[in-house]
């Protein structure tokens, strides 16, 4: 029987090669696993120069406390104590409870040697209150054995922000964070667009108990409402959490109940219309689990608290949330709560032809 020259040797060498490849892969995977287990057991080494970014994320959620880098537990505890102490009034007015639920604290960056830390904190609503978590950023400075915590919106935050070394908070993030920390309520940013693909109509409702919106529809892809820098809160696992997008004037938009989040690092800059996540029912910060179909929550925020959406102009629509009812209007058109709202994109005029922005590359799972 005539066979090609290469087939002369039969299939055995190739078969052996395949077998070796399988073994090699298994060995490599095993070695990686050994390294991971070693890191888990010995704890993540804290870089003296604080070169590890996001890597130092420490979970403090009661259900998921893991061993963090040595020396950060007092810091986490202290941030929790500070938040519990300073936000008692805020939490009471937002959730109607006296006892502040345990805050969820994550460190974005720690410089253990220099005694600096930068992170996020979120207070989930109690199990029986359907509301958005209260969130903030903080900068911490260690003096002797105690940490001084500056929560966004306080004077300490601005002071610590100015003193913090470049390694902990990179220069390009500072102006924005400073703006965020000092922005006063009632200062909505200009030029925001609705956070979904232009040309799609999504149903929009006002959130219960919080000044914010809940929306769902179309392809379910939540996009950045404007340019800014993004921070992830309640970051228990990759791709999950709440996104805080701080815009250049210091006001932030907040996106919750989104999953499959963009994998950019904390503090990375995003463009308007960039992919942020997918609508879902995921509430990684805690509190009551979401009811009904997947829908993202959206609020405006500044360092010192929630910003009312009433009168805010987004993508040519003016939002009205006065007196508990919600509607949006645009040059004579009026859309009530629960009805589909068409995203005209960045076009502020009265042309009804939607102009889709550049679509971000589709993400594969």
């Amino acid at each position: 029987m005539a066979r090609p020259a290469s087939g002369r040797r039969g299939m055995m060498p190739l078969a052996r090669l395949i077998g070796r490849l399988g073994g090699l892969t298994a060995v490599l995977v095993g070695l990686t696993l050994c390294a991971i287990v070693q890191q888990e057991v010995t704890g993540r080494p804290m870089a003296q120069s604080a070169t590890q970014r996001s890597a130092a994320a420490v979970q403090s959620h009661p259900a998921a406390r893991v061993s963090g880098p040595p020396g950060t537990t007092p810091l986490i505890d202290q941030v929790q104590a500070t938040v519990t102490d300073q936000w008692a009034e805020l939490v009471h007015s937002a959730f109607g409870v006296e006892k502040v639920p345990q805050p969820d604290v994550h460190l974005i960056w720690v410089d253990q040697a220099g005694g600096w830390a930068f992170g996020t904190c979120a207070v989930p609503p109690p199990p029986d209150v359907d509301a958005m978590p209260q969130v903030s950023l903080f900068v911490a400075r260690r003096t002797d054995e105690t940490w001084r915590i500056g929560l966004a919106g306080t004077e300490d935050f601005g002071r610590l922000l100015r003193d913090a070394p470049e390694a902990v908070i990179p220069a390009e993030q500072r102006p924005l964070l400073e703006q965020y920390g000092t922005a006063k309520s009632g200062n909505p940013p200009k030029g925001l667009v609705l956070p979904w693909h232009a040309g799609q109509s999504w149903t929009v409702q006002s959130l219960a108990n919080t000044s914010g919106l809940r929306f769902a529809g179309g392809d379910g892809r939540v996009l950045a409402s404007g340019p800014g820098r993004v921070y992830r809160l309640c970051a228990h696992s990759p791709g999950r959490g709440m996104l805080l997008l701080i815009h250049p004037n210091g006001t932030a938009t907040e996106y919750y109940q989104v999953t499959d989040l963009t994998r950019v690092k904390d503090g990375a800059s995003v463009r308007r219309g960039e992919y942020l996540g997918q609508v879902s029912t995921d509430r990684p910060c805690g509190g009551p689990s979401a009811q009904g179909p997947a829908a993202a929550s959206f609020t405006l925020l500044s360092g010192d608290g929630a910003v009312s959406l009433d009168g805010v102009e987004i993508g040519g629509w003016t939002l009205h949330t006065d007196g508990g009812s919600f509607y949006a209007d645009r040059s004579g058109m009026r859309v009530e709560s629960g009805n589909p709202l068409l995203n005209f994109g960045t076009d502020p005029g009265r042309s009804s032809a939607p102009r889709p922005p550049a679509a971000p590359a589709p993400r594969s799972s």
């Binding site: 029987m1 087939g7 002369r8 040797r9 039969g10 299939m11 055995m12 190739l14 078969a15 052996r16 395949i18 077998g19 070796r20 490849l21 399988g22 073994g23 892969t25 298994a26 060995v27 995977v29 095993g30 070695l31 990686t32 696993l33 050994c34 390294a35 991971i36 287990v37 070693q38 890191q39 888990e40 010995t42 993540r44 080494p45 870089a47 070169t51 590890q52 890597a55 259900a63 998921a64 893991v66 696992s237 990759p238 791709g239 999953t259 499959d260 997918q278 879902s280 689990s289 594969s364 799972s365």
Partner: protein, 269 residues
Amino acid sequence: MKHRELSRQVARAGPRRWKVLRAVLLCVILAAVLAGGATDRGSAVVILSRDFLEFYSGVFALVGLSAVVVAGLAASGRFTPVRLRILAQSGHRALAVMSMSFLVVHVLLKVLEQHATMLDVIVPFMGGQERARWIGLGTIAAEMMVLVHVGGVARSRFIGRGRPWAWRVLHLIAYLCWPVAIVHGLNAGRAPKDWVTLSYVACLALVAVAALIRFVLWLRGRGKVRRQAGRVTARTTRHVSGIGAHGIPDEEFWAELKHEAQLWTGSHR
């Protein structure tokens, strides 16, 4: 003659020396990896690879398992040419090893990540998570997968003792394990994209058809054995069923196999 004995000895001594060398090499690499993981840059790499594996090891284990099933089916199929069957067989084994390694990583990382508990590894449906139902399916699938894999590795022990049927039944569990694993994979974690779901459904359908064909062929082959067995004496019946309870391989198959074997050994007798 002497030369042949000598070369056989060398061949026997070679692998053993290789094995020792390989074990030593592996230990050295392991030590290097552990030492490297303790440095700043190394730990960043480890964190990155952990993130990657947390996200993808389950996917790889499931895709690997699917490929193992397909390769195994191809390797056992009478309709596949012998040369391809040999490739499919080695692919089947290599993929099985890979997918087992990813399964181990997946389970361990999910426990470390606190998405599952140590109890979940052994007992299904007891973790009490929000998705305990789907995670429990994963436990069941993983246990079956380990069972089938161990059975596959220890195949010669079953065959040598005249109990090929025990091995076959054990290995057939794979057909139960795989759909359970797919259901787990599609429901326990992040929501799959539509094309992912569709791919798995298509794969399931194809394998179902192929397995059905295999089953029908087996039934027909068995009928043939029975009919032939009726014609020969009782002693030879035992002999025949010893060759293959799976049906008698036809002449063409043996001829092809012989030819292939000649190609490897280089002999033309």
